[in-house]
């Protein structure tokens, strides 16, 4: 009888300890899963922004997922035909060459022309800021005076006499071409007062924006391979 009591006692203790441990793990999990502080400290506007950012990203991933599934099916079908496989891999490669800048590309977009005036010169920083704004507005391909903007493009002033893009010298007028949703691109730059164009005009710089239904953007002529990344495997 006493032995039985002991066993029951141990079981109860065991269960209590187990529950306590589980509670701790749950707590830990909640903390690691959510960056509580960053969300807690947000204002309503910021939360709305965050929500819409995630919705957009979600939709983008869904689109990509559908494309992937379609490609998988096509590859499965192509297993019996070598020619079909060549077509598919070529198509994938061309798309990625379009995106990374190895191919010249076409599409709708905007052209922004920045010109030095007597009062004010265009600086590398003006162009760098513009690149950043165009990327934010979803530009899929950009060039400045036919220098394609790639992932590692840098833009610097050289002795205040000219600007170097991808290590190539360019001078005014700076013709910036961007392919993307024309409306998004234009409205992102044209916001009143705080938009790029109004800020530039306030600084007495010359900026002209035009929409185009078909823009040609040149390919990148440099080498895109890594130099310092260690190859694995």
């Amino acid at each position: 009888m006493e032995k039985r009591n002991k066993i029951i006692f141990s079981i109860i203790l065991g269960v209590v300890c187990f529950i306590l441990t589980m509670v701790i793990f749950l707590q830990f999990k909640t903390i690691s899963q959510t960056d509580i502080i960053s969300i807690e400290s947000m204002r309503e506007e910021e939360l709305k922004q965050e929500l819409s950012t995630y919705k957009t990203k979600y939709d983008e991933v869904v689109t990509k997922l559908e494309e992937n599934n379609k490609k998988i099916l096509e590859y499965e079908k192509s297993l019996s035909s070598e020619e079909e496989a060549t077509n598919l891999i070529n198509k994938e490669l061309e798309e990625s060459n379009d995106l990374i800048g190895k191919n010249s590309v076409q599409g709708e977009g905007i052209i922004i022309t920045l010109t030095d005036t007597k009062d004010s010169k265009i600086t590398a920083n003006d162009l760098l800021t513009l690149m950043n704004e165009l990327k934010q507005a979803g530009a899929e391909a950009i060039s400045i005076n036919d220098q394609r903007i790639v992932y590692n493009t840098y833009i610097v002033d050289i002795n205040y006499t000219y600007i170097s893009v991808n290590g190539k010298r360019i001078v005014s007028p700076y013709v910036v071409k961007a392919i993307g949703n024309t409306t998004y691109l234009e409205s992102a730059l044209s916001q009143k007062q705080y938009g790029y164009i109004d800020k530039m005009l306030a600084a007495k710089k010359s900026v002209v924006l035009e929409r185009q239904s078909l823009i040609d953007i040149a390919n990148y002529t440099g080498d895109l391979s890594f130099e310092y990344v260690k190859e694995e495997k």
Binding site: T21, M42, A85, E92, N125, Q136, Y151
Partner: protein, 241 residues
């Protein structure tokens, strides 16, 4: 005697567990208190944001799975012809350039932090003690100019479509919120990267003198994680081939 020992051990264990729970709960409460009570009304909105983040994580992990599946079937489909295999290898190289793989190498690690020691009422311009989004844009530009292969800011990979934005007092990179302390990792030739930023009148040298907390170290073993997003291909209607 034995009974006592067992009881004491159990007692201590339970005490520790209860303490751990209490500490956890307090930490969470403290974190919420930062906000102030007036903002707690947004809790519904916060739940929605958390939910959206969770949904995104889920769909993204599905995408990763389907990427692996696609790689496998592509491998199989291109294994019959040497020509196809070469195209596949080129495609994989392109993926690396697009930042879709983790990469390793030597380079520099930059740590930046706002200077919180200064008294706002005593300095002329508190802004110069803080890290701004323009600073990040300039540092990235300098690093690529010095030959960097790959860069990340607080583990957000810098890719061809990366924008660095200021949105109120929040900095966003790839749409994700970044807050101080900021860690920038760059793979490249460590001496060149270091010199480009820390030389007299180099960008970080100036930032440091302005009062921002700057630490740069060279490292032989840096891992930069991949870009966790997708490239849109909606408005390019055709390449040159």
């Amino acid at each position: 005697m034995k009974k006592y020992n067992a009881a004491i051990i159990l007692g201590v264990t339970c005490l520790i567990l209860v303490l751990a729970i209490c500490i956890q709960i307090r930490t969470i409460e403290e974190a919420s208190n930062v906000v102030g009570s007036s903002l707690n009304d947004n809790s519904e909105m916060k739940d929605k944001v958390l939910e959206a983040q969770e949904d995104y994580k889920q769909i993204y992990s599905q995408l990763e799975k389907s990427n692996k599946k696609l790689e496998k079937i592509r491998q199989l489909a291109t294994s019959n012809s040497q020509e196809d295999e070469l195209l596949k290898l080129e495609l994989e190289d392109n993926d690396k350039v697009q930042g879709l793989t983790d990469v390793k190498g030597k380079g520099v690690i930059i740590n930046l932090d706002d200077n919180r020691e200064v008294d706002e009422t005593e300095v002329l311009n508190i802004s110069s003690y803080l890290v701004h989004e323009e600073d990040l844009l300039q540092i990235i530009n300098e690093l690529f100019n010095a030959g960097a292969d790959a860069i990340s800011i607080n583990n957000q990979r810098v890719v061809s479509t990366t924008a660095i934005l200021c949105d109120g007092n929040i900095i966003r990179v790839n749409g994700e919120i970044i807050s101080v302390p900021i860690t920038i990792k760059a793979i490249g030739y460590p001496e060149s990267l270091y010199y480009a930023l820390m030389r007299p009148q180099g960008y970080l040298d100036v930032m440091q003198k302005d009062g921002v907390i700057v630490k740069v170290e060279k490292s032989d073993d840096i891992t930069i994680s991949k870009y966790e997003g997708v490239y849109n291909y909606d408005y390019i209607i055709g390449g040159d081939k």
